[in-house]
Amino acid sequence: VSPPGKPRLTSCRSPEKETFTCWWEPGDDGGLPTTYALYYRLEHSETVNECPDYRTAGENSCFFNKNDTSLWVNYNITVVATNALGKNISDPVEVDVVYIVQPKSPENVTAVVVHEDQGPFVKVLWEKPRTADTRSGWITLLYQLRVKQEKDKEWVEYDAGRQKYYNVFSLHPGKYMVQVRCKPDHGFWSEWTKTTYIKMPDYL
């Protein structure tokens, strides 16, 4: 048995520029019951605070709700592991919430074949992730979709900008896979959505 190994802060992410969560990897527990505490200090303050909510975001995480989240200020964050033989502190991480925004994936992706004189095309529609308040302009999301046939190796990507639909022209007949993702104006891409399938008919 020994004091705990050094825990490691792995990432902090905000899905909507309103709340955020930090996750850590526990180090070795030294063979003893070990507890973890996250502490943070704001850049303009000397006060050290403990994590306000260890439960909401699951194991080895700390959730900062709206009241505990401010923008344009650095949070200096550390995790302390403690067991009966001693303590170990993670390297500190500095985050400003505006730089860790990663939205949830878009929702309700649908794809339909639209028949027009020049031939059919596929219209893909989706909705914003529910948690992101794009309507007020508080967060701005840009969308991207990708399309391929099951047998294809490579996806073809299309940028949809701020629009929540995209018309894909000149697809050959066959069954296509479609996925959509979004990113904030300054931040990280979401995960791709689960695949939506659409069958492009023969022209004749």
Partner: protein
């Protein structure tokens, strides 16, 4: 007004992206001692400006005040960006040519955005024009090459944060103006 705010948001978006790119250029070769010497963000000359720092606060601020905040911040960066622009070409940094041209681009962009926001003020018919004064009292980045590099980086990091504030406020204004075209927000 829609089009003016759309154009303004594109410029503020560009400003922030450019400042991020410049920060990365500087970070590519930055002496470790520089990080130790870097002043704290609370030393930024704009840090005294009271701004809404979360969504609930920001959405409560009336449109003309949100616009004034963005314009006050922009105005506060006119002199410091001129200083950065005059110093960039002589920085002790291997990427100084790239840094120089991006800094000039920043300066051009804040001038265009400033002019654009003047039009927005007229279009919105804002009666109050209470811009906050945030004076910048320095006309040099320092005597030796390390101080000049550190102060350049420090000012840029202040600007990077402020340009994100400007961008956020303008995008809120853009969506308020675009109520008839909610599909863009």
């Amino acid at each position: 007004l829609n089009d003016l705010l759309e154009r303004a948001s594109q410029l503020s978006d560009k400003l922030h992206s450019l400042s991020t790119s410049l920060t990365n250029d500087l970070d590519s070769h930055f002496p470790p001692v520089g990080r130790v010497m870097m002043p704290r963000p609370s030393m930024c000359h704009t840090s005294s400006l009271q701004i809404p720092n979360d969504k609930d606060q920001a959405l409560k601020v009336p449109e003309d005040e949100l616009l004034s905040l963005a314009r006050s911040l922009l105005l506060a960066w006119s002199d410091p960006l001129a200083l950065l622009s005059s110093e960039a070409s002589s920085l002790a940094h291997p990427e100084r040519n790239t840094i120089d041209s991006k800094t000039k681009e920043l300066q051009d962009n804040i001038n265009s955005l400033g002019a654009g926001l003047e039009h927005v003020v007229h279009k919105m018919g804002s009666s109050s024009d209470n811009l906050s004064s945030l004076p910048f009292y320095s006309n040099s980045l320092g005597q030796d090459k390390t101080s000049r590099l550190v102060n350049f980086h420090f000012l840029l990091s202040c600007f990077r944060r402020d340009s994100h504030k400007i961008d956020s406020f303008l995008k809120v204004l853009r969506c308020r103006a675009a109520k008839k075209r909610p599909e863009m927000c």
